[in-house]
Symmetry: C2
Subunit: 258 residues, 2 copies
DNA sequence: CGCGAACTTGAGGCGTGTCAACCCCTGTGG
DNA sequence: CCACAGGGGTTGACACGCCTCAAGTTCGCG
């Protein structure tokens, strides 16, 4: 009986051999210029010549990370940035005394590693919350490319700036909101990010546990659970385990207007 | 009787006129290469030629900001970064509904404005907590200089990275610490930053009110006040209004080891 | 000297943490 | 196929840390 292969319509044996040979690390070329995520990775309006440079030097390889595995750990040497191609991650800041804080959740198109540039060492753990693939972007290449391609440099600065603004939002949530407000703000932010990526903003499959949400929001997992139930009772959303359906986004937003 | 003037030993009237004429924006040249803060503003090991470029194009002017005045407001067009030369600032994130969060305190050598690169608009208010002077660094100049002087570019990236790491620390404080721990972590961090700048790390004059500290730490001003008193009762420090004397820094650090 | 802003301290209430019981879902192995 | 284990989620009762409200003090400044 016929089995499914990566390349359809070719003799299975030969196709496989071909793929293996052509798939060696050095040969596995990544094309940023035709990637469906290029709108988030690259600035608009690049010249042919600039795109060529980026294609040939920005992403050196693709790396797979299975659910639960770490992409990098705090203390690891910083050598490359990682752009998520598929999948979902969390970053966790841990102190030597066992305190832990989830500092963010990252999804397709997000760039990880900025926190490591200063020290030359990563300062957080990055853990895959589902099977994922990331583009490996050596930092030295990125630096050089930025110099040669000014719009790329500017793009990079904007992404770092956005990260800082996002962290300020997190501080606002953590510092001056009630549990209900924090959860509402979290869901709305997640919803926005999904919409930007072309996913449904109302039907959300949470990739993280209640405990991870709690850590991010400065709440205990029981409080997160209770708050979901409360918002459901208020008719703002439906919760069924990790499946969330936002039925009244304006109502959710209204919770923040106080 | 004689009065005190900015320039001593000159006829008051003439001196004033002179200063006004020579003090016009275009004429007031700033020399980064000889500034006492250059170690924090510039990378080490720059060539003569690179220093010249920086001197001539990085800082276009010096701006004075009196205590209580704003350097920039959320919504203002982003045109320049600001490096603090003397003084002390807070940055405040405010929502349309009146919620406020102090996102940081900045002192001499700190660079402000990164949060505005992405949107092209400032996202926080920067308010002077004492009479201050800042170097104005047009962003377009900085971008161009970065391209021409790679070590400067790298330096800039490191500063932005450090800002992100600092925000993560803030999230850790806000998300998973008790009031006592937050205050201890805040004081130790402040102490470190003062030491780096050559000030006493143990004798600290707070530039901000209890309310501002509270906002930054996600606490009410009464809680901050009570916590100071408690730490004093524990023999870790002396508090006298805004004057703090840390008498047992290791004891303070020990509070965080749980 | 007197006013207001900043700070301190106390009493009581509220929001969230803690602890525990229970349920649901999934994967595993007999 | 079912029994079982284990991780994740929900819900309740109670505790506790921080907030709220209020009164009083200190300090800086006109």
């Amino acid at each position: 009986m016929p089995s499914l292969h990566g390349v359809v319509g070719l003799p299975p044996g030969k196709a496989r051999l071909r793929l293996l040979v052509r798939g060696e690390p050095a040969a596995r070329k990544v094309q940023c210029s035709t990637c469906h995520l290029r709108r988030s990775c690259l600035p608009a309006g690049l010249s042919e010549r600039e795109l060529e440079r980026i294609d040939s030097r920005m992403v050196t390889s693709l790396r797979k990370v299975h659910q639960g595995e770490t992409l990098f750990r705090a203390g690891d040497r910083f050598e490359a940035m990682f752009q998520i191609w598929t999948g979902f991650f969390k970053t966790v800041l841990a102190t030597s005394q066992g305190r832990e804080q989830v500092t963010g959740f990252q999804m397709a198109g997000d760039l990880m590693g900025f926190e490591a540039i200063d020290a030359g060492l990563h300062s957080v753990d990055a853990i895959a919350l589902e099977d994922s693939q990331v583009c490996v972007i050596p930092y030295s290449n990125l630096e050089a490319l930025g110099r040669e391609v000014p719009p790329l440099q500017r793009h990079l600065h904007r992404i770092m700036s956005r990260e800082i603004v996002g962290d300020h939002d997190a501080m606002l949530r953590l510092g001056s909101m009630y549990a209900e407000e924090r959860v509402a703000a979290f869901l709305l932010s997640l919803s926005d990010r999904l919409r930007e990526r072309g996913f449904s903003p109302s039907s959300i499959l949470l990739r993280m546990t209640r405990e991870e949400i709690g850590s991010y929001l400065g709440l205990k997992l029981e409080t997160v659970s209770r708050t979901f139930s409360k918002l459901q009772a208020g008719g703002l959303l439906f919760v069924c385990q990790r499946q969330i359906k936002i039925t009244d986004p304006t109502g959710l937003a209204h919770l923040l207007e106080t």
